[in-house]
């Protein structure tokens, strides 16, 4: 097995809640994540709103500082690296944002936006910045002559392509994609996802793909990590997660994918209640308040994220599910948000 490109251990982010000047507890947005991403691999990070997916993504590219834990990229610990130390790594580690309308400066031309990472890092590619930018625009399927246009002249999907071109400008090895398609129409989603997949194949990119659309994740990711309330509850290869989910939460998520072959909510697992507040998460297993299998042990003892069958599928549950579910993800993707509705 190749050496992982990104190695995350015990990654934690607590946002202090202040009442005037006194600290009053903390929102435990992310609480001890462990995962690896190998070169050229795509790791999907799925979960409901507020489970810490985006916070994790921002910590990986150092837009947020981790409270504790470590992030190792390409063999170097970047958890607390300063800006100057980070500079060479920035080129290998980029991010694509969710909102294509907020992620481009409305006062800059497309050329300036895509050239920004090159200029900030003082890189002058052979043939000049303009040539490189036009190559990038072509790479993401935009007309290179649109160099002088402004973001407001583009559609959502085109804007997302501009954001992708910007992330590619530094030739990164890993891209954190923070819900890159959830703001787009379904037809455009497919185009952008296929673009990302082509780019991954051609440029040997690794992705951390944050999403709540399970169908998109299944289509795009090699491995999947399911998050619940700041923790990974299950992580494994795509087929394991989608066909042999062991954690009850994963099962509930998957059951929310509409099945085109059956009418009505057949076999759908409905979770009762809401996600508990991350200010004061439940003791033991965090999912126990909504889990139909919960017992006393779940409240007292936190289940470790371990393998059940000796394979690569890790589950944090005292009473893992067994058995296979067979289903095809239809063209309509269920979102993790729909689970609790």
């Amino acid at each position: 097995m190749t050496e992982p490109l990104l190695k995350v251990r015990g990654l934690t982010k607590h946002f202090p809640v202040r009442d005037g000047f006194r600290a009053r507890g903390a929102v435990r947005a992310v609480d001890g994540l462990d995962f690896d991403v190998r070169p050229g691999e795509t790791l999907g990070l799925v979960g409901e709103s507020g489970c810490g997916k985006t916070t994790t993504g921002r910590m990986l590219v150092r837009l947020l500082d981790a409270t504790s834990g470590s992030i190792e990229f390409d063999g170097r610990d970047i958890t607390h690296a300063r800006r100057a130390q980070l500079r060479p790594l920035r080129q290998d580690l980029q991010i694509i944002f969710q909102d294509p309308y907020a992620s481009l400066n409305p006062r800059h031309t497309v050329g300036r936006i895509v050239a920004m990472p090159l200029q900030v890092n003082g890189i002058n590619p052979p043939g000049g910045i303009k040539k490189r930018v036009q190559e990038l625009l072509e790479l993401v399927g935009l007309n290179p002559e649109h160099y002088n246009r402004y973001p407001h002249e583009f559609s959502g999907g085109q804007r997302q392509r501009i954001g992708i071109a910007r992330a590619l400008a530094l030739r990164p090895k890993l891209i954190v994609a923070d819900e890159p398609v959830s703001a787009l129409d379904v037809s455009i989603q497919a185009q952008v996802i296929n673009l990302l997949r082509d780019l991954q194949r051609d440029l040997d990119l690794a992705f951390v793909f944050i999403a709540h659309d399970l169908a998109v994740v299944r289509h795009f990711c090699h491995r999947v990590a399911v998050m619940y309330l700041g923790k990974i509850v299950e992580i494994g290869d795509r087929d394991d997660i989608y066909q042999r989910p062991q954690h009850p939460y994963t099962r509930a998520l998957l059951s929310a994918i509409p099945d085109v072959t059956t009418l009505g909510p057949a076999g759908r697992i409905r979770l009762a209640g809401d996600v508990p507040t991350p200010l004061n998460p439940p003791s033991g297993c965090r999912f126990r308040t909504r889990c139909w299998k919960a017992q006393d042990r779940c409240a007292t003892e936190e289940p470790p994220l371990i393998t059940r069958d000796g394979g690569g599928q890790l589950t944090a549950c005292h009473f893992p599910e067994t058995g296979t579910i067979s289903q095809d993800s239809g063209p309509v993707g269920a979102t993790a948000e729909e689970v609790s509705k």
Binding site: Q94, T109, R149
Partner: protein
Amino acid sequence: MSDMSHPPSLTAPGDPAAPDLAVETESPPVGGRREIVGRSPNQLAWLRLKRDRTARTSALTLVVAALVALCAPLFGWLTGMDPTDKFVDRLNDFGMPIGYAGGISSEHWLGLEPGSGRDIMLQLVYGLRTSLFIALASALLASVIGVAVGVIAGWARGWLDSVVNWLVDLTLAFPFLIFALAVIPILQDRFYTEREAPPPAFRVALIIATFGLFSWTYTARLVRGQVISLREREFVEAARAAGAGTGHILFRQLLPNIWAPILVTVSLNVPQFIAIEAALAFVNIGVTEPTPDLGRMIYNSIGYVASDPWYTLFPGLTIFLLVLAFNLFGDALRDSLDPRSTR
């Protein structure tokens, strides 16, 4: 200002949420090897401004006023008079100008001042220069202070932001006129004794400084809010993720997005300063003699309103037109920079 030539399909320059139809329809058909050039938000705003009839009229008024003010010495040279020349021989025994309508004649187009016998047109032209200079310089000073303080507060956040906020609240709590009444004479006494007359430039500088020190608060608040709302936007995060430093983010990413509201504040500050500067003359802390000044002309003319209303009319009308034109232009500028704010 509901100009019919103003197409409703135009959208905000800084509005990322709306697809811009205007450009798609207006750009020439993309055929052959034409290079595609997009219209920047600024160009769109400029187009809208050019189409706005109110903006054109008020801008023309302002340009004429500015030209007249700048060419004040030219007027003196052409007429062969000085604003301080006293034509006492054209006044009657009561000190009132001889002739109709405040002594309007072929030499004195706008008549003469009762009492002193100075030419009103020259006083007006030179006074316009004083008023415009004070208002523009104060607006510039207030904006520079305001932008600097606002950017620092919005960017630094934390305790520095709190301190700036307290400072703004404190400054806003001061009654301006009373403060000016206290500060201007005291500072003048600090530098000049009662016997020596301070140079006119000193009083002008003092007024500009007082305006600047009092009016930076609005700009500071505006800029602070803009910086805070923009700094969390994803395009700023993208710059940070690419390794950009604070300088790049502030000057390349943020400032291009906030200069528009700053420009609008400046253009709406100027008429305010013109009016307040005129008001200062009434409490005797305005521009001193012999520097011509519009506000002081009105103040002087009040005693003659019944006997010579023309003396009040000309400076009053000038200030009215100036303030109106500035306000209308400021409104039009705001509409063109942010069309969504139109009613």
